[in-house]
Amino acid sequence: MSDHGFAFLDGDAKKEIRRALLKAVALPGYIVPFASREMPVARGWGTGGLQITLSIILEQDVLKVIDQGCDGSVNAINIRNFITSVTKVMTTSKTSRASIIQTRHRIPEHELRENQVLVFQVPYPEVLTTVEPDTAQQKQMHADGDYSKLWVLLYEDTSQYGDSRISNRYPVQVNNHFVMDPSPIPKYDIPRMDNCPALQLFGAGREKRMYAIPPYTTVKPLKFDDREFKIEVFPGVCCERCGARDVFFDEVRLGSDRRYFCSDTEFCDKNMEKNDAA
């Protein structure tokens, strides 16, 4: 029963996923439908990212898996264990050493480089879902470049609340054409997608879509010209562990006590090493 080949999926399944990946790279920001396979982990738990990773991974790859920026979180460990059990690849928590990084909800703080692939797990691939649930309509709106419903939403929010109420999954325009959902990363990570040297791949297993941002591609958040795109800020906060400032933080509340730690745990560990050396 457990006798399957390298990387779990059968050959035809990989070819279908690979077809969609190549189309995705050639069409930056366009969501490519594909015949998503059922994985041994549940839908919504990273089956899209998993299918991409399993279809691109080679024996010589070094894999890093994070969830919420953390290599040690339960879901990251579970996915990493599954991938290594079917591929025997090496794993690492060091961003700089990894050739494939599968992530949920964050982009690592450490700058990515050219020969790295960042694989995002995506719950809602269609950026228009919140304003238009019908698939045929969504396709037509993308074809017409008609993102007016998103602009109206942005306008209404700005007039009522001073800014967009979208806290994560902030819509971005890729290569000045398609508007896409960047997956539930915080706004802090949005500018870091722009002109990134690494290849960024996005997989939504349940919704059966994938998309990509090739390296060195323009990625801009949807915003009015006279408004600033505001990322999350933590004024006066530094990491209680490593002392880092101006990064994305996890907030830990113990009673009335609020404490902050780096959301990217490997980044935090590396700072600790540097502190110890100094």
Binding site: G5, F6, A7, G11, D12, K14, K15, E16, R18, R19, A20, L21, L22, K23, V25, A26, L27, P28, Y30, V32, A35, S55, I56, I57, L58, E114, K139, Q140, H142, A143, D144, N175, H177, F178, P197, L199, A212, I213, P214, P215, Y216, T217
Partner: protein, 180 residues
């Protein structure tokens, strides 16, 4: 390393290089041949029952059909076209998708002698860090027709050049090609 690779291993290594080539136009990667042919290796990697192909090259295509379960079609219907040389007449015919489904477009795999000689060009667009000077193994009129096919993004065709020296480089439809 190549000799003891099984077919799936060959496919996944070739796919990864193919993906890198498409993501970084102008860069040359390696393809491991299958049955002494890099075109056959690409066919084995890309084809499966749900896609179609057209070919105008030497090679044991009956074997490819048998192991991949793929259907052969006319040039204007095919998802993947395997050609010995960049052929303008075929490029003219191939599908370039529609506005709702731009991925319903053709992918060309063109053979060539090598990737070092040919038309001098400057590439720009997604995957290229700024601008990049290189040569493409296709005549000017072929590249002009390609630019014409790719004028109305997201419609267009994606193209790979495969050399007899086992090199691969790609031109996705997003790449702007300027002649020197």
């Amino acid at each position: 390393m190549i000799a003891d690779m099984d077919l799936e291993q060959l496919n996944r290594n070739n796919f990864r290089n193919c993906l890198e080539a498409l993501a970084r136009p102008g860069n040359v990667y390696q393809v491991y041949p299958y049955n002494h042919s890099v075109i056959m290796a690409m066919a084995s990697m890309l084809l499966y029952p749900e896609v179609t192909f057209y070919q105008q090259t030497e090679g044991d295509w009956n074997m490819i059909k048998a192991i991949t379960g793929t259907t052969e079609r006319e040039a204007h219907e095919a998802d993947y076209l395997f050609l010995d040389v960049p052929d303008k007449n075929i490029l003219q015919d191939v599908k370039s998708g529609n506005q709702q489904n731009p991925e319903f477009s053709a992918t060309l795999i063109c053979g060539c002698q090598n990737l070092k000689s040919g038309t001098s060009v400057i590439l720009s667009g997604p995957g290229v860090n700024g601008r990049r000077q290189t040569t493409l193994p296709a005549p000017v009129d072929f590249l002009e027709l390609l630019a014409e096919k790719n004028r109305h993004f997201p419609l267009g065709v994606d193209l790979y050049f495969l050399s007899r020296e086992h090199g691969i480089c790609a031109l996705p439809r997003t790449t702007q090609v300027d002649f020197l």
